[in-house]
């Protein structure tokens, strides 16, 4: 699971859950893969992100580094910043662990890099 995916995922569809976002991450295996850097992609992606959620996710797996907690201005020209975001969004992968619903504590297992967001019958 890339952090880009994590940034989109929610447990809101569970019974009794109001927001279900952001999901906590408890990672037992994290790896890094090389993905071609494309500044246009990153620029286009950033406005759609929940920035705070990306920061806390990166922090929970020890990858925050010196990423600013507030989204800086003029990011288009800030190649250093864009590369960091690219790395976090596209190159860092949680291979195993759990995603945690912030309201119910329900764990969504991540195995072999695939988060399983399926619910049981009694949870919807």
């Amino acid at each position: 699971m890339k952090l880009l995916t994590h940034n989109m995922l929610t447990s809101k569809f569970m019974k009794g859950v109001v927001k279900g976002y952001p999901l906590g991450i408890v990672a037992s295996e994290v790896k890094e893969v090389a993905v071609d850097y494309n500044p246009d992609f990153v620029c286009r992606m950033i406005p759609k992100l929940e920035w705070g959620s990306l920061c806390s996710a990166a922090d929970s797996i020890g990858k925050l580094g010196d990423l600013p907690k507030e989204l800086p201005e003029n990011i288009e020209s800030n190649q250093d910043f864009l590369k960091k975001v690219h790395h976090l969004l596209m190159e860092v992968e949680v291979i195993s662990g759990n995603l945690i619903c912030p309201e119910t504590g329900r764990k969504f297992p991540i195995n072999n890099g695939i988060p399983n967001m399926l619910l049981n019958e009694d949870e919807v």
């Binding site: 699971m1 890339k2 880009l4 995916t5 989109m8 995922l9 929610t10 447990s11 809101k12 569809f13 927001k19 976002y21 494309n38 246009d40 992609f41 620029c43 286009r44 992606m45 759609k48 929940e50 072999n112 890099g113 695939i114 988060p115 399983n116 967001m117 399926l118 619910l119 049981n120 019958e121 919807v124």
Partner: protein, 675 residues
């Protein structure tokens, strides 16, 4: 030595027959002699009767069974021992059937491993549509002559030309004229001639038997020459009361009753019998007589079928003209009530299919989710090429767009399209594993609850997913889910399988064209996400079809591994033994046109097992298991109509692509609800 031209031709012909036999009957030919013979050109369609076949084949040994297949040019013969079959092949191969008086060609015999399992397509005459009453020998031969004499046809040719000039038969009306232009009667203009008095006696008999409760005031007399018929129809509800009486004089005929769900019941109307159509058989079933000179009827013994030539038949149809609007219990089919109930038609099929969302979920669990989980490996091996129009759609999306493929299957559309950022999701863990191994980003989720916050996705794909949902409500919900996750202005492309597999004369879909392909599946079908793990088997009204070649039904003990597994798992929540209840969805025959909208489509698992263990699936390796996937195939316009009721969606484009209905939707720029 090279085979001669004639030998080559014979080899080709034999290969063709073998393939047809496998396709249509699921029967393998045998290279070594067996007791059973396939008799090409010796079938009912070639005008050969069971008696004729026996005449030809009995001299070679004791015949144990003759199977005539309705609407087919072939038949099957079994001998008590292999010797009989061997002698028949030695002596009767190439037998010219014309020499025994039938118009046909030369018989071609092949050894087969077995006879067809079920030959019940033509009704044995015992099963009648609900509400139909058949009374044998209701009148004597003398009375028959009296009634026929009461009709003077010669006079009609000059004076009532309009009435009896129907192409298929001679017609005469009494009491009221039945008008074929509007299929109704002019209730204010009775004819001079009332129903002849000679008819009173037979109507009294029916009343005394308790089959008739009114006084018919309209009589239509039809005369059919052999080869003439009447197209299938339901008598206009608003024209006549319930209880339509039809008397058969002069000769028997086969009347065919059909329902809109595909049921088809041929009923033999013997000479001097009467039928009374009441209730469902009067209001819902069409009845008609196929124009032909012979009928395929059950033999005297009731076992097997044979041909019966038609003679000159005269029918007397008695009806009571209706004076008030029809108030039958079938408003959707009723011209009196239809305008008020048109809105409801849309949902009828759903109501019949799934009584509740829970049952729908269970159906999808057994016949979509579990099936894809088990066939994932084989399935993925048959899905490589992206469909060109889907690829074009992706290519036309702005650079850097975030694409979510809901129901991404083996990740076919997550490959390529380097100008997009792509994420997939699917309900099947095994398919997700395959996508992951190919380097794609995926997560497990259900298309009814996509675990993504609102308004984050620029482009959505839903290819071959929504047709796996079993109610309209759920199909609608799946489209609304796509709209929810899209950003305003974002686009979704939806593909569903079409009921209409042939468009125009040349436009058969590749699904139909690949009729002879080894694997009976179609390209591009992918996993259908659905819902929860669930418990009991839902029950449905049986949709029996007598057309055995296509209307085969599946039950819990047909060897379907999915169902067998379900019945042994003992899921909690089963409502007492419902696992034993056979499911009666019709099973579709691959590479043929659809006859029903809600069907089970077989998947014949071949080759290796799916990589992860499939629990409870202990089929031995010799018999590849067959899985049945549920599909709701869409009729023309249905997908567009469904999308029209989705909020925040605008249909940009709708089209037909190779046996699929497709739409491109755009999320409108209205404010979408927060997360």
């Amino acid at each position: 030595m090279k085979p001669s031209k004639a030998e080559k031709k014979a080899i080709r012909k034999e290969a063709k027959l073998k393939s047809a036999l496998m396709t249509h009957e699921g029967i393998c030919t045998s290279s070594s002699p067996t007791k059973h013979l396939f008799v090409a050109n010796g079938g009912l369609v070639c005008g050969v009767s069971k008696e004729q076949l026996l005449e030809i084949f009995q001299p070679y040994g004791e015949v144990s069974n003759v199977v005539m297949v309705p609407d087919k040019p072939h038949a099957f013969i079994s001998y008590v021992d292999v010797g009989g079959a061997t002698r028949a092949v030695a002596c009767a191969q190439g037998y010219d059937i014309r020499s025994s008086g039938a118009p046909g060609a030369k018989l071609h015999l092949l050894y087969v491993e077995k006879l067809p399992d079920v030959i019940s397509p033509s009704n044995d005459g015992m099963v009648l549509p609900p509400g139909l009453i058949l009374v044998h020998d209701i009148i004597s031969e003398d009375y028959e002559r009296e009634l026929l004499a009461a009709i003077c046809w010669e006079e009609d040719f000059s004076t009532q030309k309009a009435q009896n000039s129907l192409r298929h038969r001679q017609v005469k009306h009494f009491g009221y004229e039945f008008r074929y232009d509007n299929n109704n009667v002019d209730k204010d203009s009775p004819l001079e001639q009332p129903v002849p008095a000679a008819c009173c006696c037979v109507l009294d008999t029916l009343r005394n038997l308790g089959h008739l409760h009114q006084e018919p005031d309209q009589l239509t007399v039809n005369q059919y020459l052999p080869g003439q018929g009447i197209p299938p129809h339901v008598d206009t509800h608003s024209a006549f009361e319930d209880q339509l009486v039809s008397l058969s004089l002069g000769s028997a005929a086969m009347m065919e009753f059909r329902r809109d769900d595909g049921r088809h019941l041929p009923v033999v109307l013997p000479r001097r019998s009467a039928i009374v159509m009441t209730g469902e058989s009067r209001y819902l079933w069409t009845h008609g007589i196929t124009p032909r000179k012979t009928d395929v009827v059950p033999t005297e013994s009731g076992r097997g079928l044979t041909l019966q030539p038609r003679g000159l038949r005269t029918s007397f149809t008695f009806r009571k003209v209706r004076r008030t609007p029809c108030d039958c219990g079938y408003p959707d089919q009723c011209d009196s009530q239809r305008s008020a109930s048109r809105v409801a038609t849309d949902n009828t099929e759903d109501e019949a299919l799934s009584k509740s969302n829970q049952e729908a979920a269970e159906l999808e669990c057994a016949h979509v989710h579990q099936v894809y989980e088990e066939i994932a490996g084989h399935f993925s091996g048959t899905r490589h090429r992206q469909w060109p129009q889907v690829a074009e759609f992706l290519a036309s999306q702005p650079r850097g767009s975030l694409m979510l493929d809901v129901g991404s299957g083996n990740g076919k559309y997550l490959a390529g399209s380097e100008h997009l950022v792509k994420v997939g999701c699917d309900r099947s863990g095994n398919l997700n594993e395959i996508s992951r191994r190919r380097g794609h980003e995926v997560f497990g989720c259900d298309c009814l609850r996509v675990a993504v916050r609102a308004a984050t996705i620029d482009v959505c794909l839903s290819i071959a997913v929504i047709h796996h949902l079993s109610t309209r409500e759920r199909r609608l919900a799946a489209i609304e889910e796509l709209m929810r996750v899209l950003t305003p202005g974002g686009k979704a492309l939806i593909y569903v399988w079409a009921m209409e597999q042939e468009r125009g004369e040349q436009a058969k879909s590749s699904y139909i064209k690949k009729k002879n392909a080894r694997e009976g599946e179609r390209p591009g079908v992918r996993s259908g996400p659905g819902t929860t793990d669930a418990a009991s088997v839902n029950r449905r009204e049986p949709t029996t079809s007598c057309d055995g070649m296509v209307g085969e039904t599946v039950t819990g003990n047909t060897g379907d591994a999915t169902m067998r597994r379900r019945s042994t798992d003992g899921h909690p929540g089963d409502d007492g033994g419902s696992d034993e209840v056979p499911r009666k969805l019709p099973v579709h025959v691959n590479r043929t046109n659809f006859k029903h909208q809600d069907v089970l489509v077989p998947w014949h698992l071949r080759g290796g097992r799916p990589p992860p263990v499939a629990p409870g699936n202990d089929n031995d390796e010799q018999t590849p298991p067959v899985f049945h996937r549920f599909y709701h195939v869409f009729r023309q316009g249905e997908l567009e109509a469904l999308c029209a009721s989705v909020s925040c969606a605008r249909t940009v484009r709708s089209f037909h692509d190779n046996g699929n209905w497709c739409v491109v939707l755009e999320k409108t720029r209205e404010d979408s609800p927060p997360l």
